[in-house]
């Protein structure tokens, strides 16, 4: 167990090291940091003095070490475009993205699992066929198109829901939340559905195929033979056994929800990190880009690590094979 945990930890650290190296190289070698900071009329001596002051003439490994030390303290440099420290910008926008991702994941789970159970139990009913075709659309339709269709129907034609922004937010300490106001909650509906649609389709199809598989096994037959009610068989035995892969996939999908939030935020002008990142790319705002990269990589690494460890705890087979991580 310990060896497995250690190996996964080392791997995660290695990933973070490479990502930090990439972020640093972008930060250091894409464009001249000095030229971004001073005006046209700054003299060469002045620029040189600034270079020395900022340590840009030091050996590259020293600069890298300094960069990493800064990142660990939460110092990510100053945005070229907005002229404010990047950590402030991120802290402002992080709550918006996390709330959106959370609601989207919740929506995908709460709608996806029941749909999956239903289509798994009654594969021949017409509703199952409709749901399955819809889920194919959910997978094939691009995220932004789903968002645009929702806006067109519920925002423009029916005028029911707000089409951009977060509505009113309440500030609690450093956190700004849209959960506490009516307009905030209404603003969440369409972006969350847009973002969660793909995961919903994925979870539904996964639960369905797992259900179909489990229902064929002997222990289900045995449970029926014991005279258990359908309800007990379906939910107590079958569903429980489908949940391990669902938890894994959902865990791994949280990362991509946060990444795909870039698109959803862009459609709904949602003031989160994704929108910040897209604007950073358009304006080649390197500090913001590299910070986003590090942050997202950190999310992914932590999520993957947690999922792996959970999997290891849940699935005893992994322990027998010396804990190779299953992949």
């Amino acid at each position: 167990m310990l060896a497995f945990v250690l190996r996964r930890l080392v791997q995660s650290l290695l990933v973070m090291f490479f990502v930090a190296l990439l972020a640093f190289s972008m930060f250091r070698f894409l464009g001249d940091p000095i030229a971004q900071m001073v005006g046209q009329d700054t003299s060469l001596q002045e620029r040189e003095r600034l270079r020395v002051e900022l340590g840009l003439n030091d050996p590259v490994p020293v600069q890298f070490a300094r960069y990493v030390a800064g990142v660990l303290k939460g110092e990510f440099g100053i945005s070229y475009r907005i002229g404010r420290p990047v950590d402030e910008l991120i802290a402002e926008r992080l709550p918006a993205t996390l709330e959106l991702s959370f609601v989207a994941a919740l929506f995908a789970l709460l709608a996806g699992i029941p749909m999956g159970v239903y289509t798994g139990l009654y594969p021949d009913r017409w509703l199952s066929k409709v749901l399955l075709s819809l889920s194919l659309m959910g997978i094939a339709l691009p995220t932004f198109l789903i968002g645009i269709l929702l806006i067109l129907i519920f925002g423009v034609n029916l005028g029911l829901l707000p089409t951009f922004g977060r509505g009113e937010v309440v500030h609690i300490g450093f956190w700004s939340t849209g959960f506490l106001t009516i307009s905030g909650l209404k603003s969440l509906i369409m972006p969350a559905i847009t973002l969660g649609m793909f995961q919903l389709a994925l979870i539904m199809r996964l639960v369905r195929s797992e259900m179909l598989e489990v229902l064929r096994t002997d222990f289900i037959k045995f449970a029926r033979a014991r005279g258990l009610s359908n309800r007990a068989v379906y939910f107590g035995h079958a569903l429980k056994n489908t949940l391990v892969p669902v938890i894994t996939i959902t865990g791994l999908q949280i990362g991509s929800i946060i990444a795909f939030a870039i698109i959803t935020e862009s459609v709904f002008q949602w003031p989160g990190m994704g929108l910040l990142f897209i604007q950073a790319i358009q304006f080649v705002d390197i500090p913001v880009m590299s910070t986003y990269l590090i942050l997202i990589a950190f999310f992914f690494v932590v999520i993957n690590l947690t999922v792996d460890l959970l999997y290891y705890a849940v699935d005893p087979r992994l322990r027998v094979h010396g804990g190779a991580g299953g992949k």
């Binding site: 691009p142 925002g155 870039i262 459609v267 997202i296």
Partner: protein, 310 residues
């Protein structure tokens, strides 16, 4: 004469094969294939069959801007699906747009394939530290969604290239970004099949007669590991087309002067609230139909070529 009869022969063999039978007997697949074929042909021949050249500013008339589709009262037969904000005929813009989308998708998949297959064969055949290095990089990249990698490559290229150069090379940049984002899948599969092929007798024979390692990899191992590559390629084509559309929709892809489907959707998105729905819906539907058809074809191909499922 001989080659002709051989061609007829292989044609007959193809129509007798299991693959053709499984294709024929799946109505969804046939429909998907027809839709895909029509779209690709339309895209290729759009300069000759499109009613208007939407990339040529001289052929546009701003007076015609925002004409609704023909079934509306003030629609005109000249513009079947209406026009956009610059008076571009939507139907022509769709044809030209699909042309760019499909082209970018195809070339991006070729780039992924080239990188992935090369690295996969090398990793599998050479093994050792080279294998470990290549596959670790693939693993790391695999943990991130492809679209994120593409966005990042796009952003880095913007940083490296001066603005004017970037504007000239924008299609190349997108193709590279999407191509780089898709290679690990090819590399993994090809590495797996290379590991199997490597220990077969024909490779041993090639080694015994003293062929160079590169020759063995290129002309002996490579042809035998390409089967699954076709399947991944088809599925990745759908992903690449979607990726291009996403980049363009986000405003970091194909510029609006020569719009792809994604760019058209981005343009149309601005007129969502003023009631000109056709500017966004038609490109959206075209994109969805294209991606769905290619996806279905890829799924079918995967099942048809997988002997385990027969």
């Amino acid at each position: 004469m001989l080659s002709q009869s051989r061609f007829a022969d292989s044609l007959r063999r193809f129509f007798d094969s299991d693959i053709w039978y499984s294709f024929k007997s799946s109505r969804v697949t046939v429909a998907a294939a027809i839709v895909t074929a029509v779209m690709i042909l339309t895209a290729i021949f759009s300069p000759w069959i499109a009613p208007q050249n939407p990339f040529d500013p001289a052929s546009l008339d701003l007076m015609d801007a925002f004409t609704p589709p023909v079934w509306y009262e003030d629609g005109v037969p000249k513009y079947l699906l209406g026009t956009d904000d610059q008076g571009r005929d939507m139907l022509s813009a769709l044809m030209y747009g699909a042309r760019i989308s499909i082209f970018v998708g195809f070339v991006a998949v070729l780039v992924s394939m080239l990188i992935g297959v090369t690295l996969g064969v090398i990793a599998g055949y050479v093994g050792g530290a080279v294998d470990a290095l290549i596959m670790r990089i693939a693993d790391i990249q695999f943990t991130f969604p492809a679209i994120l990698v593409a966005l990042l490559v796009d952003g880095i290229m913007r940083g490296i290239l001066p603005k004017e150069v970037h504007d000239d090379l924008v299609l190349v940049v997108i193709i590279l970004a999407l191509g780089v984002s898709g290679w690990p899948q090819f590399a993994r599969t090809v590495r797996g099949s290379t590991l199997v092929e490597k220990n077969k007798e024909y490779v041993l024979a090639a080694r015994v007669i003293g062929l160079k390692r590169s020759t063995i990899m290129l002309s002996h191992v490579l042809p035998n590991v390409l089967g699954p590559v076709l399947v991944i390629g088809t599925i990745n084509l759908a992903i690449a087309i979607l990726g291009e559309a996403t980049l363009s929709f986000l405003g970091v892809g194909v510029p609006p002067t020569e719009p792809s489907l994604g760019t058209l959707i981005r343009i149309g998105n601005d007129f969502l609230f003023s009631g000109e729905w056709w500017i966004v819906i038609f490109p959206g539907l075209t994109l969805a139909l294209l991606v769905l058809s290619v996806n279905l074809l890829g799924d079918w191909l995967r099942d048809a070529l997988n002997p385990k499922l027969r």
